[in-house]
């Protein structure tokens, strides 16, 4: 049998990362093909190439054996490639039929409404769903909105349907309905690319499973030939040897206790302690709620239940200023948008959270002192720049990250929350950041290290808390935490299931 869509030798690089490295991928008619991989394995890039959002650097795409070029998403639609996402893209003010036909049938001066509703009803009937084509999209549930998107794909005669974590926000019953729809489509000969982080779902629906790691295809097997452990081995089999080794140091007294912390609809029942000199790693998939816990502790998005006990006294943290006053610092994962004021100088960025320290008696900023601080951090963290008065926006990613670190270290925090501290920075700078983390812990700072880079979290943390879909899956000691244990927890298996 010939594949509908075949990707041959596809490579795609971004500055500093090889997102896809000579990837081969095939989709056959009437199959549900699951794609698995850790954060950053290259799944999103692959989808974006298939839907025309990115262009590959090399390699070719074959449709029914003929090479094609997918220049944009309209062209992808023309080739019969459609995609639905975790958050459906429906227009809330249009009705179901209008949403189904938008962009390809609702055209021209006049619309034949009766015909449109008839066809919409027809498509919905073929999918076996009871949804009124005349009802407004605004009132639909997320699952119903996805159905509308699937109906839209069907109305476009889509032959390839990409489902990117479609079940992430659905209830168990809705997932079952979605799977029924998926099976209908499969029987009609549609090739389905299915992405999910829930292992159970993959075993329920997939016919074939392909695993990506670090931009490469690691394995691709029929469902009958794979086991959970085998898939997980394929996903994590990365070497740890290049990682920085933590220095041995004493763990101090209890600094922070978090009890039953929750925020409605985001995370719940989070419990952990951080001691002085301890690095507590936060592992999990993107969207598991780790950043949200960090933001709650820093007061950006305060929690609405539970307790935060800092050095023995309970605190209600309602704003970043307050968190800062309590000795908490938060290094954001979005350093360019939230961590820095890019058009301002390195010195001004470093002094910003602690500007009050630099004021003279009449309230003027003492630039000499500001400069001295910046020079100090420039040396300490080896920020490579011709001048500390240079715009922060002109620095490389790694040096920008060091500026963000400097700005927060300068507030002399006791608890440092690091959110993806090495994302998007080069290997050398990454090693330097790891060295800094180790030093800070050695000086007695408590560190909460949120990272999607599994080897990093394993190498840098004293203990690792794993989250999944807003839930705490467990806290593992350094000795028991292996890649397999952590990824198993992150993907929704309890510890007892793990056989390594």
């Amino acid at each position: 049998m010939q594949p509908i869509l075949k990707l041959e030798n596809i490579s795609k690089a971004f500055p500093g990362v090889k997102a896809l490295d000579h990837v081969e991928f095939e989709l056959f008619p009437g199959e549900v093909h699951a794609l698995l991989g850790e954060n950053g394995a290259g799944k999103s890039t692959l989808i974006k190439i298939m839907t025309g959002i990115y262009q590959p650097d090399s390699g070719q795409i074959l449709l029914d054996g003929h090479p094609i070029k997918i220049g944009n998403s309209a062209q992808a639609q023309g080739y019969g490639i459609a995609a639905i996402y975790q958050e459906p893209l429906v227009f809330p003010d249009l009705n179901v039929a209008e949403n189904i036909f938008i962009g390809h049938r609702v055209k021209g001066a006049f619309v034949d409404w009766r015909k449109m509703y008839r066809e919409a009803d027809d498509i919905l009937a073929r999918l076996g769903v009871s949804l009124d084509a005349r009802s407004q999209a605004r009132g639909l549930t997320l699952a119903q909105q996805q159905t509308v998107e699937i109906a839209k794909a069907l109305s476009l005669n889509a032959r390839v349907l990409i489902m990117d974590e479609p079940t992430a926000s659905l209830s168990a019953h809705e997932v079952e309905q979605l799977f029924n729809l998926t099976r209908v489509l499969r029987e009609r000969g549609v090739a389905i690319l299915f992405i999910s982080h829930r292992m159970d779902e993959i075993f329920e629906i997939a016919d074939r499973v392909t695993v990506f790691r670090d931009g490469q295809q690691i394995s691709s097997k029929p469902i009958a030939e794979i086991t959970r452990d085998g898939v997980i081995q394929d996903m994590v089999g990365r070497k740890l040897e290049s990682f920085f080794a933590r220095n041995e140091h004493e763990q101090g007294e209890l600094m922070l206790s978090v009890r039953n912390l929750g925020k409605r609809g985001i995370f719940s029942d989070i419990n952990f302690d951080i001691h002085r000199g301890e690095v507590l790693g936060f592992a999990g998939l993107v969207g598991a709620g780790r950043t949200d816990v960090g933001l709650a502790l820093f007061g950006v998005e305060p929690a609405d239940s539970g307790e935060i006990i800092l050095k023995g006294s309970q605190q209600q943290i309602r704003s970043p200023e307050q968190a800062q006053a309590l000795g908490i610092a938060y290094v954001t994962e979005d350093r360019r948008q939230l961590g820095l004021t890019l058009p301002m100088s390195i010195a001004a960025n470093i002094s910003l959270p602690s500007l009050r320290k630099y004021l003279s008696a009449v309230g003027i900023i003492r630039r000499k002192a500001e400069q001295a601080t910046a020079e100090n951090y420039r040396q300490r963290l080896s920020i490579r720049t011709p001048s500390i008065w240079q715009e922060a926006g002109k620095l490389s990613g790694g040096n920008q990250q060091k500026v963000v670190l400097s700005k927060w270290l300068n507030t002399e925090p006791q608890l440092l929350i690091l959110d993806e501290p090495t994302r998007g920075i080069d290997v050398g700078a990454k090693a330097e950041v790891h060295h800094i983390i180790d030093q800070l812990a050695g000086q007695g700072m408590g560190i909460m290290l949120i990272s999607s880079d599994l080897p990093e979290v394993l190498a840098m943390s004293d203990r690792i808390l794993v989250m999944r879909e807003g839930q705490q899956m467990g806290i593992f000691n350094r000795e028991e935490a292996t890649q397999e244990v952590v990824i198993n927890a992150a993907m929704g298996q309890s510890r007892s299931d793990v056989k390594v």
Partner: protein, 327 residues
């Protein structure tokens, strides 16, 4: 080299303004022998003194990434409150204090909606423009209130220090204070940081809401003060006092190189822009060009000199920020 003070943009934009200003000044000198005389220069400033006082605070508000369209209405309201109270027999001193207080109140109302409720300042202060003007109309109706005490009328006209009347002294003092605050104080640094990226400022522990609130209160008080000075200069108050001034005020700020998207600008540039507009109007007076044509010329100048060179980079920043907000 001071941060938040951009030398290269200073070189590009402020130098250009200075060159254009020099050309206009030379032209004016060639047209009139009295141009450089002190009384003419004082007169030059005094014709628009109330507006250029408000220009100073408007500069901070626009750099902060907001706008205050209600300033002219607050000017008018301040003047009307003072006139109304005085007419009812309240002492002029007390009336002025109440007038300033009403200005502060207008600022608090604007600031509340913008800073705490996070409504767009364009909409909030547009509503303010209409509402505050409406209150002024209720207070004064279609009358003209005058017969203020002599000392009050003289405030607006008589030379106080050397040849300088009170309002000009106030302008220069405020200019120095605002330059120091904007470019050398913590508050000014926060104004820039918030204007660049409100969320980044919040993530750095900056009290974004307090800064915005402070700016709007300052704007209300200063606008009201300017309105009262305007009443003193004219010797009479109508409900329409200062009507439409907000556009002239914003024009001067933007001509001074302040980015309408926030985060960028210097008070030096705005100072030059004030001089340029004043001298340009004076030069056109010398050529007997009338008011409407003058406004057209200044409008065209604004479009060609400010918007076009800044278009590319500003729009980039604007979209980046929009994308971030959308996320």
């Amino acid at each position: 080299m001071p941060p938040s003070f951009k030398w290269d943009s200073l070189k590009r934009w402020e130098t250009l303004l200075a060159v254009v200003l020099a050309v206009v000044v030379i032209f004016n000198i060639s047209q009139s022998s009295v141009f450089l005389r002190v009384d003419n220069l004082v007169n030059l400033f005094m014709l628009h003194i109330e507006k250029i006082i408000v220009v100073l605070i408007m500069t901070l508000i626009i750099i902060n990434g907001e706008i205050d369209l209600s300033v002219a209405s607050v000017m008018g309201l301040g003047a009307c409150v003072v006139a109304n109270l005085y007419e009812r027999g309240v002492s002029m001193e007390a009336a002025i204090l109440v007038g300033l207080g009403v200005g502060a109140l207008c600022g608090i109302i604007n600031g509340f909606w913008v800073a705490y409720v996070r409504l767009p300042s364009l909409a909030v202060t547009l509503a303010g423009l209409i509402a505050y003007h409406g209150i002024a109309e209720m207070l004064v109706e279609d009358r003209s209130i005058g017969n203020f005490p002599d000392w009050f009328n003289q405030l607006g006209q008589k030379a106080l220090i050397g040849p300088l009347p009170l309002s000009l002294v106030i302008f220069f003092i405020l200019f120095i204070i605002f330059a120091a605050v904007l470019h050398f104080s913590a508050f000014g640094r926060y104004v820039f940081v918030i204007g660049n990226n409100r969320e980044a400022a919040r993530y750095s522990g900056v009290r974004v809401r307090q800064v915005k609130m402070m700016l709007y209160i300052m704007s209300g008080v200063i606008a009201s003060l300017a309105g009262i000075l305007f009443a003193a200069r004219l010797g009479a108050v109508r409900a329409s006092t200062a009507e439409g001034f907000e556009l002239d005020i914003i024009t001067v700020v933007l001509l001074g190189g302040v980015s309408i998207f926030g985060g960028k600008g210097t008070l030096a540039g705005v100072g030059l822009s004030i001089m340029l507009v004043l001298c340009l109007r004076n030069g056109m007076n010398l050529l007997s060009i009338t008011g409407n044509t003058q406004s057209t010329v200044i409008g065209v100048l604004l479009i060609f000199s400010v918007l076009i060179p800044n278009l590319t980079q500003d729009f980039q920043g604007f979209w980046n920020r929009r994308r971030m907000i959308a996320k």
